[in-house]
Amino acid sequence: MIKQSPVHFHRMKDMPSTHLLGTGTPMCAGCGGLETLHTMYDILGRKTVFVNAAGCMTLLSVYPFTPFHGGWLYTSMASAPAGAQGVRDAVDILLQKQKLPAEEDVEVVVVTGDGAAYGMGMSATSGAMDRKLDFIYLCYDNEGYGNTGQQYSAATPHAALTSTSKGSHGYPGYKKDLFSIWAAHNPAYVATVIAAEPLDLAKKIEKLQTMTGPRMLISLAPCPTGWDYEPELSVEIGRLAVQTGVWPLKEYVEGEVRHTKVPKQRKPVDDYLKLQGRFKHLFEPHCDEQAIAEIQARVDSYWDKNAAK
């Protein structure tokens, strides 16, 4: 894919004012993942082929409806990066053999949920990074198997209630550090993003467009349905995830991790947790101070270790 030069997103005014992604998709009202995808698509443009793994966004295209101007290919839960490999390789072969004019080139983008990215699809993702596949990977991370009713996944945060962790303490495990796992492969780019910070998101997409190789994005995707809150709070909760330090915005380039938005005065995690039904048991009927303190301590410890970066 021919690489573009940056346009520079500085202010909200620089964000695209028309949107490429078609309306009328069956994503839930207030979907934080869809918010990321439509911003990303606006910047990447029409010549994009999305390769999808089983998850909520599989329903973006249900025959005969599609919200895309360009390509969309559903593969399976485990093998979307391999689908991207086939498309990328085929287009490269055709370009090389001059059977395809350069203007027909495409950017190949894998889109999966956290269920695929953190679990079943990890082997295929690792393989694609090993092979230095020139592709973009967007994981919309709503911290559970959302399309089947929010069972816990390897992306579920500690203490969250899910439909398979309904006990009084919620999910006993801890969210897997996918960013570090991906970064350990030394791909061209890894970043965390969130739609509630559109400028940070836009800058990162713009930046990765100038690069070749595996370019990996994890977008925290606030999920009214799975996290149990009113849809209008999606952006607010996303912003709080950043302001409390729960979701650090960062990027990995050439062996270095850099934080792109460091909250000056981190808000207490309570601010983020208490808006969500999945953490309601930490506040009602009694405040579980110990559990909240543990969550706060983990966030603090992260930032203590990463303060300089």
Partner: protein, 413 residues
């Protein structure tokens, strides 16, 4: 044409090379691995203009083959046994994408127990996937079968992927003389890959392989895939004729040996059928009217032709190198279905043999012929039989004695 000694695996690699494939997603598994090694070697030495990528699993490999074929290149891949099963989700899925490519499966028995040796349970698991299936009995058929498979799979009336199947060890590692087609002739025969309207391009919309809502659309797409596989029956002869004109070798969808006057018929798939061929010769020398019927094309199954060929025969012994637990031989079931209700249908006998590479001796073929004759005279088929001798059980007992030594001691004490 050049005649040389090639293993089945080499013949398969040559088939892919002669078919001018552009793209080979690969993953190693015994006994298939040499195919991708040969192809990788040619590509590395610049003798073949293609790209080979080793994926991290067969599941990914089939995904990449399907998505590449959907993007406009001719794809080839190969697997075997557990690999085919690991890929099975995508085998079914990519058939529904209606993007043609060819995959070789080198048949090997399935776990459990683990074995490296050959039988057909792996390929039978792909039976209902939508892939076309061509089964080969010789190394020559492998090289030629791949060329035929591309033509069949890419035919505008068909457009569905194809599997070329052959037996591990018995063909994969066995050298036989093979006439290799000249590259130019092969290139002319297969032609350019035309992805028709399925290709991902910067300036045209294409969404593919999505969900449908409701049983009506689902039934439409599934049944159309079935009808497309059926279409392969009507275009096969035309392609086989053309192949014969160019290369001088004839590949009917059903290979018949001494079927003109045969009263007793063996039915088999794959390389063990040459053993049956030899048995037919011996039986004929002893005064029998014996014959062999071997489907090359197993999906679609040429049911009408099977009915025509088998009506009026006395008895047919179907020898399955597979077993459907709780039912028996798959080929036997399929032939019973094809012949059901046919006036003057032959009696059908079911034999399970050659599991996990177990040999089938000439004497066993003769004994099967005897049982078929007996069945005909009594007007009733014998019950299904596993080809298994007393000596084999004795040997098994020795293994069990070792495996269960401690168990036995516990019982003694």
């Amino acid at each position: 044409m050049t005649r040389k000694l090639l293993t089945g695996n080499s013949a398969a690699a040559w088939g892919a090379r002669l078919a001018c494939v552009d793209y080979i997603p690969a993953f190693p598994i015994t006994p298939q691995t040499e195919i991708i090694e040969d192809l990788a070697g040619w590509i590395d030495r610049g003798e073949m203009d293609a790209r080979l990528v080793t994926l991290e699993s067969e599941h990914s490999m089939i995904t990449a083959a399907g998505s590449a074929a959907s993007s406009g290149v001719r794809a080839f891949t190969a697997t075997s046994s557990q690999g085919l099963l690991y890929a099975m989700e995508m085998i079914y899925a990519v058939a529904g994408w209606r993007t043609p490519f060819v995959m070789v499966n080198v048949s090997r028995g399935l776990a459990s127990p683990i074995t490296l040796e050959s039988d057909h349970n792996d390929i039978m698991a792909a039976r209902d996937s939508g892939f076309l299936q061509i089964h080969c009995a010789t190394c020559q058929e492998i090289a030629d079968g791949i060329l035929l498979a591309y033509r069949l799979a890419e035919h505008p009336q068909v457009r569905i992927p194809a599997i070329v199947n052959f037996d591990g060890f018995y063909l994969s590692f066995t050298r036989e003389p093979v006439d290799l087609a000249r590259a130019a002739k092969a290139r002319a025969f297969v032609g350019e890959y035309d992805p028709e309207n399925l290709q991902f391009r910067g300036n045209s919309p294409l969404s593919q392989a999505m969900a449908v809502l409701g049983g009506g659309p689902y039934s439409y797409f599934r049944y159309e895939a079935h009808l497309a596989v059926q279409q392969a029956l009507s275009v096969y002869d035309e392609i086989a004729d053309e192949f014969e004109d160019i290369f001088g070798r004839r590949y009917d969808m059903i290979d018949c040996y001494h079927m003109d006057d045969a009263e007793y018929v063996f039915v088999m798939l794959g390389s063990f059928s040459t053993k049956a061929r030899e048995a037919v010769d011996s039986l004929r020398a002893a005064g029998w009217k014996a014959g062999l019927l071997r489907p090359r094309l197993f999906r679609p199954l040429p049911q009408q032709r099977i009915r025509q060929l088998l009506r009026g025969r006395r008895a047919v012994g179907v020898i399955d190198q597979n077993i459907s637990m709780g039912m028996g031989g798959v080929l036997h079931s399929e032939f019973a279905t094809a012949l059901y209700g046919l006036e003057d249908a032959p009696l059908l006998g079911s034999y399970i043999g050659g599991l996990g590479g177990r040999d089938i001796s000439q004497q066993e073929f003769f004994a099967i012929a005897d049982e078929l004759k007996h069945a005909y005279e009594n007007g009733e088929s014998a019950p299904p039989r596993l080809l298994y001798t007393r000596n084999e059980l004795t040997e098994m007992r020795k293994l069990q004695a070792i495996a269960q030594a401690e168990h036995a001691e516990i019982h003694r004490s």
